[in-house]
Amino acid sequence: MSIEIDRINKRFGDFIAVDNVSLTLNDGELTALLGPSGSGKTTLLRIIAGLEQPDSGRIRFQGEDATDLHVSDRGVGFVFQHYALFKHMNVFENVAYGLTVKPRSQRPSKKEIRDKVMHLLEMVQLDWTADRLPSQLSGGQRQRIALARALAVEPKVLLLDEPFGALDAKVRAELRRWLRRLHDEIHVTSVFVTHDQEEALEVSDRVVVMNRGKVEQDGTPEEVYDHPANPFVYQFLGNVNLFHARVQNGVAKIGSVQIAAPEYAGQQDSLALAYVRPHDLEVLNSREEDALHARIDLVSVVGPTVRLELQTDTSDQAVHAELSKHQYRSLGLVQGGDAWIRPVISRVFLRDADSP
């Protein structure tokens, strides 16, 4: 079932939580709403669920207007950050809840409910916890139960609000891979909110980056990571180095380094910033015309990669570079020694609005 978000606005007092957002989420897709806290991603999710009413705009499920439909009639599954399991019910009763509260005419028989719940518990690999109370489970287990509970009513749309936010790093990584596999099996249109870029890039088919109530970029994880639409997305997704540059006739100059910036062909002598990811920075051990001189301040080896912290002659901001241990050895670089750096892939943004 596709979700159409049509010019949704929502404010809380003076705070604009969602600012005229329009999006279409395709049937069967797993979409991540990614953004810093206060970016409006959770509010947007709650508006889709019907837990929050938009000030203006419409929500459509498969073309049908659902804006004025009550939460309980929308057929959405919602998974909360803090699980929201019913404390006084055991795991079985929690998962069965959505089925047992159906009106008598639509309610499945006791046996059907039992079979369905046990099937779901097997799917989340927790069938042995049926008689336990939520308080007797770990965080990761609770969240899987919450997911089984949401799936029990066969929702048309599955919405997850920072589902792994309250879990520790290892469980989080496990659970998000598991969620990806589960989604590949059941193909229900899903939206999940996260502020963790790694999570968004790893799990989703599509990433919607939000900031201050607006959509900054919308695309596949590769698109969003490799071709950020603006400085915000660049900085939010992964580490990035900033170089001050001057743009003239389609060329950005960082000291002696020249970068082609054909999109700014008409610009004469404008200030700009060049964004370069640490692994898109080539490190050399000898002087070259189009490379910047730098001093190596710090070398740290993190597993198979080596991270360098460098200081260029012109800027007082540290530059970070990443290379493989093998490259590092063959270059013969040492802490405190000299190096030359050259951006391999970069993106230039003029310094006007939105520049940091």
Partner: protein, 296 residues
């Protein structure tokens, strides 16, 4: 500094001094325990014993006669009748107010929270007078009530109103912190699972506030039975008609019928003791359910 103190723990003499530094000396401990116990004995246990002694001083037959005499029976009946009306009213009000305060944001919320405490702050006699001014024959609504042949003051409705007013805060105050702490995620989860508002309240909210609610009902009940000041003002003290148990006791006392007064008192006290016993069980249950919810 830290390393020094850590090193010093190995020194037994110092460690002993430390222990003394964090626990009170024996004389202080026993003095405090002694003060509180003797205070309890003097102001709680002794009066209880006096009431029991006074009630049964002249034997069981006199006691039975005193509480089965028509006026006493009427007072007991009235008290129970009033409780049966007031407690449900305050359950509905308390749950509604706590729900509104804990789960919604609205203007005037802090004023509502303050207002709920008002009945505790106002003297019961003043409460009685307020309602006399409102509903009495000389009061604002008096002529209208008289024209419609309705009696509130010096009648049962007036008693119900002042007791409902006086006991209003108990349930709401018990539930507000509980519901605030629980938040509304479970209710939201229930709604997204297709349950309507009423089913959500019945299956999710109510079980979560169950023990707090029962505790509030017990307190409300105890207070409704014992309320004196406000009732004395609005009831008119008509024997066998508008005398509740505490008023009846006062009447007996004023007429020098001490044994009868003590007998009815012992009945009220018995109800209070039962209430306190139930309250302890509930507290123990609450503690237990809270602890099981906390264990990871």
């Amino acid at each position: 500094m830290t390393t020094q103190t850590l090193g010093n723990v190995a020194n037994p003499a110092l460690a002993a001094r430390w222990r003394r530094a964090t626990s009170e000396p024996d004389w202080l401990r026993w003095t405090l325990i002694g003060i509180s116990l003797s205070f309890l004995a003097l102001f709680l246990i002794l009066p209880l014993l006096v009431v029991l002694y006074g009630a049964f001083e002249q034997g069981l037959a006199v006691w039975t006669a005193a509480i089965t005499e028509p006026d006493a029976l009427a007072a007991i009946r009235l008290s129970l009748f009033v409780v049966a009306i007031v407690v449900p009213i305050n359950v509905v009000f308390g749950v509604a107010a706590a729900w509104a305060i804990a789960k919604f944001e609205f203007r005037g919320k802090s004023i509502l929270i303050t207002l709920i405490d008002m009945p505790f702050a106002i003297s019961p006699v003043v409460v009685g007078l307020i309602f006399v001014i409102l509903f009495g024959t000389q009061g604002w609504l008096g002529p209208w009530l008289a024209a419609h042949d309705l009696r509130i003051i010096f009648a049962v409705p007036g008693i119900v109103i002042v007791i409902a007013f006086g006991t209003m805060p108990f349930i709401a105050r018990e539930l507000i912190p509980l519901m605030q702490q629980q938040g509304k995620e479970e209710e939201e989860a229930s709604l997204t699972l297709g349950a309507g508002g009423w089913k959500t309240f019945w299956y999710v909210t109510l079980p979560n506030i169950k023990w707090g609610l029962i505790y509030g009902i017990i307190l409300c009940n105890a207070r409704a039975l014992g309320e004196f000041g406000a009732v004395a003002v609005v009831s008119g003290r008509i024997r066998g008609e508008t005398n509740t148990m505490p008023l009846h006791i006062e009447v007996l006392y004023n007429e020098y019928m001490f044994t009868a007064a003590f007998a009815v008192s012992s009945l009220l006290m018995g109800l209070a003791l039962v209430t306190v016993a139930i309250k302890s069980v509930v507290e123990w249950q609450t503690e237990r359910s809270r602890r099981s919810a906390d264990t990871p």
